[in-house]
């Protein structure tokens, strides 16, 4: 299993979907996510690039360096992704553990 955190795993789930990447320098790239790496370097195809001055250009293939990315707009249907199962279970376990700890200390007082 990779060392990738949950957010990065969701980015991998977005492969073969249309995403919009905003770079730290304000350039925007919208296109199909062909592949993403653990460094967040991304390969995209059929890209529409919007430069800071508003100029738009079409690029068939683009490779973006992860460290220059500010954020990625993902398709909303990803909220149904299986990844989130682990997140909700983790939170529930945490809350259960906290409840048990509270109950445990109450019993000691009695």
């Amino acid at each position: 299993m990779s060392t990738a955190g949950v957010p990065l795993k969701l980015l991998f789930e977005a492969e073969n979907m249309k995403v919009t990447v905003e770079m730290k320098n304000g350039e925007i790239f919208r296109g199909m996510l062909v592949g993403a790496e653990e460094t967040m370097n991304m390969n995209m195809s059929d890209v529409l690039k919007t430069a800071r001055n508003g100029q738009v250009s079409k690029l068939p293939n683009v490779y973006l360096r992860g460290s220059s990315i500010r954020f990625v707009v993902l398709p909303e249907l990803l909220k149904n992704a299986p990844i989130f199962q682990t997140v909700t279970t983790m939170k529930r376990k945490m809350e259960q553990a906290a409840q048990q700890r509270q109950q445990g200390s109450k019993r000691k007082r009695e």
């Binding site: 954020f71 707009v73 909220k79 989130f84 997140v87």
Partner: protein, 90 residues
């Protein structure tokens, strides 16, 4: 032992306020995060604040631009602050 990241864990599936570099603020539902502070936010509102100084009057013109995004992956290195939503005008 509770480290600062554990406090963020408490906000999972809750709405959060995130301050970013470049005078940006994000308000959204925290779906996931990692040790780099990369985050997945849902139903996000991004507020971009720009300050211009009028040449003639020397007054500061503060402008705010808001945009809404359904599902957003935020790279950790732009994040400056994470908190539950501020009560006043959140």
């Amino acid at each position: 032992m509770e480290e600062p990241l554990d406090l963020i864990r408490l906000s999972i599936d809750e709405r959060v306020y995130v301050k970013c570099r470049g005078d940006r603020e994000l308000r959204g539902k925290l779906h996931a995060y990692d040790q780099h502070l990369n985050m997945i936010l849902g139903e996000v509102e991004e507020t971009l604040t720009t300050t211009e100084v009028d040449e003639e009057t020397d007054e500061e013109i503060v402008k705010k631009q808001v945009r809404k995004i359904g599902m957003l992956f935020v790279r950790g290195d732009i994040i400056v602050l994470v908190s539950p939503p501020l009560r006043a005008g959140a």
